[in-house]
Structure formats: structure tokens, C-alpha cells
Symmetry: C2
């Protein structure tokens, strides 16, 4: 392996033209006579020549690379957005660099530096520091430095006072979809489990939940809205806590802050042989589809989120007329779990 790589000069010399001409043939942006064009193309083919993107980046001061920072790509919630962004970026000639911060602020900082050194043309953030309601000053400062050099898009997150683009799922609308669905099935007592107070996505959902109950004049009990967390275990805990409250006044349907919480809740109910709840999850991950019973879930507009994020970055320099904040509606994927109790 490792043969000396051939350059634009080698092609030029053998074709009896200058390197500039070869460059023009490749770029196709300036006129070249058909004859020399063909000669050059033949040689390019003969030697299987490929232009060196590093050299090109240095000259043109554009790398066609975008950094994508998220906590953990094994989480389908992130990977589904990422993959859509990648596919779309490819069609636009951009390459993404995925950076898994593993929820570590240090790793996130390290990646910020690396991406910056590698001269990416923009960064996309999803999860991590952009989802804290109370933000860390040092972390925000790092982002400010980045913003000095390139455009930034935040997906499903936002930090106040940071002048960057954002693309978000309209989660309040998601909760509305769920409640409409449950009400149409006859439910009037609806609970919300999971999440952590102070995390943006939780706060938005809880607020929407309360507003809608009030708007629809549905019953509300403090004990029906249970903060617990984001994983399976906390879903179980939420059920335990719920069942310890007044048995006379239990909800008939439960909305989960995400699918995992619902999976936990289902497990707890199965163990305790409880069959009195209908369930709706959030995120529409593969877990929802493959669970038994299959879980009705709010689906983020994954494809749109990914594409819009890329579009915003690519067009950031051109039109500063474009909207900086984009809100996209989710949709409801109805499956078995929301029809468990017949009312």
C-alpha cells in the first residue's frame, strides 16, 4: 500500500498543459477547449486521479465539513436525526463529523476544539449542554467563541442569549396530539410520568400538559404528574409512586416523557398485574414499535429536523433573511398501548 499519490501537476505535464488547465477541467467552471478537456479527462481516468481535498480546502478556505455534537449515537433519538442530516448533507457535498460527547462536558469541550481546528464550516448541537435550563457560564463562553467563527444550529435545545439557529420539535403540539387522541378514546383522567424538572424538554411537556388539561377542563391531580427520570427504571418507579397515592383517584391513561419510561411502566404494571392504564410514549423509537404491547408514541419529525439543520448552516452566509428559529410539528404513531383500557 501507500503509493506516491499523483497530483494535478503529473496530469498537467503528461497532457502538455498547465496545472491551471487541469484544475479548470476538474472544476468545470471556466471554458476549456473540447480537445484538451478530453485529453485531461483521459489521463485522470487512466491514473484514477482524485483531487486532494485537503489541499483544496486550504486554498478555498472551505472544508465542506460540518461538526455534529451529541451525547450518544447509540440512542435512537439522536441517531435518527443524525442519519437524516448525513444523507441530506451528502447530496449537498458536505461531510459530517460525528462527535459523541458521552454526556461529558470535558469531551464536549475537547470536540469543540478539534472541530474548530479542523476548520468545519459549522456545528450542530443536539442534547448535552444546550438542554439545561440553568446554563453553565464556562460552557456558554466556549460556545460564544465558536459562534465567533462559524454558524451554529441547535436541535431541540436552546440557550438564551446565544445568537444561533435552532430547529425544534413542537413538543407542546406533541402533547396536544396525545391528549386529543386519548380524549377521543374517552379518557378524562390523564397522567404524565417521567422527566426531570429543569430540563427543557421536560418543562415544555409538563407546561403543555397542564395548559391543555385546563383548557379542556379535564381533571388534574398533582399526584398524576410524576417527575422521575428518562430510563426504564424510573418508569417503574413512577408507577410505584402512583400506586401509593389515593387509589380512588387514579388516572386512566398515562403519557410518558419518552418511550423508555413507558416500557418501565409497562413492566411494573405487568409485575403488579395492573391493567387499568392506557399508555402513550414519546420519541417513537424502535423500542416503541418492537415492544409488546406496541407503544403508541409521538414521533419527532426526524427527517425534517436533520435536513433543516443542514440547510440553515449551508445558507447561513447567504441569506440572513431566513428565520433563525424553526419549529416543526411532530405526529402521532398510533399503536396498541393507547387502547388497552376500553372506556
Amino acid at each position: 500500500m501507500k503509493q506516491k499519490s499523483i497530483t494535478i501537476y503529473d496530469i498537467a505535464k503528461e497532457a502538455g498543459v498547465s496545472s491551471a488547465t487541469v484544475s479548470r477541467v476538474i472544476a468545470g467552471n471556466y471554458p476549456v477547449s473540447e480537445k484538451t478537456r478530453k485529453k485531461v479527462l483521459d489521463l485522470i481516468d487512466k491514473y484514477d486521479y482524485h483531487p486532494n481535498a485537503v489541499a483544496r480546502s486550504l486554498t478555498k478556505k472551505e472544508t465542506k465539513m460540518i461538526g455534529f455534537v451529541l451525547p450518544d449515537i447509540t440512542n435512537p433519538f439522536f441517531s435518527q436525526v443524525f442519519i437524516e442530516a448525513e444523507k441530506y448533507a451528502l447530496t449537498k457535498g458536505y461531510t459530517l463529523i460525528l462527535c459523541n460527547s458521552m454526556n461529558s462536558s470535558e469531551m464536549e469541550s475537547k470536540y469543540l476544539r478539534i472541530l474548530s481546528e479542523r476548520q468545519v464550516e459549522g456545528m450542530i448541537f443536539m442534547g448535552g449542554r444546550i438542554n439545561k435550563t440553568f446554563t453553565d457560564v464556562v460552557e456558554v463562553n466556549e460556545l460564544l467563541h465558536v459562534l465567533d467563527k462559524m454558524p451554529v444550529v441547535m436541535i431541540n435545545g436552546k440557550i438564551d442569549g446565544l445568537d444561533c439557529y435552532s430547529v425544534r420539535t413542537d413538543e407542546a403540539r406533541g402533547i396536544e396530539l396525545v391528549i386529543d387522541h386519548l380524549v377521543s378514546l374517552g379518557h378524562e383522567k390523564i397522567g404524565l410520568i417521567g422527566g426531570v424538572k429543569g430540563v427543557t424538554t421536560t418543562d415544555i411537556k409538563v407546561e403543555a400538559y397542564k395548559n391543555l388539561l385546563s383548557k379542556y377542563r379535564l381533571t388534574f391531580r398533582d399526584s398524576w404528574q410524576i417527575y422521575s427520570g428518562f430510563d426504564v427504571q424510573t418508569g417503574k418507579e413512577a408507577i410505584n409512586q402512583l400506586m401509593e397515592s389515593d387509589k380512588e383517584e387514579l388516572p386512566t391513561a398515562l403519557i410518558g416523557i419518552n418511550d423508555l419510561v413507558i416500557i418501565g411502566a409497562l413492566k411494573a404494571c405487568r409485575q403488579k398485574r395492573i391493567k387499568q392504564f392506557s399508555f402513550v410514549g414519546f420519541d417513537n423509537t424502535d423500542l416503541a414499535k418492537n415492544s409488546s404491547p406496541e407503544i403508541t408514541s409521538v414521533s419527532h419529525p426526524y427527517s425534517e429536523l436533520g435536513k433543516k439543520a443542514i440547510d440553515l448552516l449551508i445558507n447561513a452566509s447567504k441569506a440572513n433573511s431566513q428565520r433563525k428559529d424553526i419549529l416543526i410539528a411532530p405526529y402521532l404513531e398510533v399503536r396498541e398501548s393507547s387502547g388497552l383500557t376500553k372506556l
Copy 2:
């Protein structure tokens, strides 16, 4: 945004030294007087200067980038390896470029070209063309071109006659772990469902399965080994097919080619109210853990696979003494599903 970026020259000028000296301070590989060193470092700090990795790559002819090509990062089987590789690469100063081929040969080819142009120092392949038992000539030729320029590692796949590195899970050993486990639970009639004949991972498992049954003198029926596919639906189909065969001679335990197939099988059994099988999956994805019942599954050595792949690439140029093929043992994650039938 987009301020003119400062260079090594700006630092040099203000420090009253040459750019070479600044370069030396940064690299730290040549002696520099303590006084100028400090002066330079102070300025670097003052201007928050970061060296331009693109320019460095061009001069040093090393990009510290590695391409990682796989079919679909939303599949946890791939993402778990990728993330381990990424974490490890980071500690070695390398950045990975993830390329999702979406099982499209065209996209895979396109990415090969892009990675090559971007001057990555090596490529890792997982899934896709490297898993076909019968290989496409054109596809192999493309890989040969790549091999001319850089080292290549294949994870859990191999193409004969291609001189590249490989890291694989010892899947035959995985099947042995499963059968040992099932035998220890008293099973003597064991089936294997899922997969497609001609796909390497299927072939390896089926062969190991047959060998071990014969070695342990366990009953074998042709109807107990059912090719069907790799997803939930095909798992259901396998059960349907199995139940149409001689009812007197059914297995008591079923091994799945992967977790999804077992999830499908569990669904089918629940629908038909069949309770006569124990189940073991393969891959140990989050689906296995979060399913009900939780699925016993063979876990790939995800972390080792990822790390070894990176190590092989990084050391490819140095020691050609290292082994080119590495086989790593999987382990069994025992959960509920293998204990469903008491014998």
C-alpha cells in the same frame, strides 16, 4: 461571525520571532529557549490561537482521520462498535468520519471516493459488501484501489483474497455458549431460526450449530433450522413455519440469528398462546434488555471490536509483525427468556 482567523505568522510577528519558532513551540519537538517559549505561549493564549489542522495535514501528509463505513448507525449493533472505536480513537488523536451507506452499494462507492479524497489514513468497514459470501467483482475492485492507498480493517466480515486486516466476533463460540447454557438448563431439542443462507454471519452460526449438536449428540431435525431473515417480521414467520411442521417433534428451545428475530418469535407465540419454547437471542442490543420477557442474548465484544480495529489501523505502518486477523470471544448475557420452560 467569521472573523479573519489568526495564523502562526501573526503570533510570530507580535512575539518578534520567526514562524518556525512558533511552530516549534506548538509542536514541542525542538528546543526553544524558555523565554521565547513563554512569550509565544502567552500570545497564543491571548488570541485564543488554534493551529489550522487542514494546513498541517497538507504539510505533514497526515490527516489523523479514519473513515468508518457501515450500513446504518441507527442499528445498535453497529452504533455500539462505532462509539467504542470513536472514544478510543479520540485518545489517540484520531477523528472518525462516519459513513452510513444505507445498504446501498452506490452510496458505499461514493463514500469510498470521498474518504479517499479527504485523505483519511485508513478505513474501517462493517456490514455491507464485506458480508456477502458471493462477492461482486466491481465492489471488490473498488476496495482493491483503496488498499493501494491505505490500510483497511473489516469488522465481522471478510472477503477472500483481499489483503486487509480483520477483527471478528467468534460467532461459533457464541453459539457454543448458547448451547452450553441451554443444555445446562436441561434442553435437548434446540432449534435455530432466522438469517439468510449466503450471508457470512448466518452461515457461520448455522455451521457451528450443526457441528455442536452433532458433537453433543443432540437431536437434529431439518425443520428446526429455519432461514427467514433478520427482522421482527421474519421472526414471526419462522414460528409460523415451525408450527406447521410435525407437532410431535418440536424443539424446546430456540436460538435466534439476532434479537429482532426473537422479538418477532415472542410476539407470534404470544398471539398463538404458545408457551413451549425458551429463547436466546444474539447481539445483545437494547431491545433484548428492554423486551418483556427480557431476552438472554449473546453479546458481541463491542468495545474490543472497536478498539482493536483502531489499533490495527494506527499501527499498520509500523509493525507488520502484528497479526492481521483477530478473533474475539463473545459472552452470554443471561436473562429471563432462556428460562421460560422448566424441563
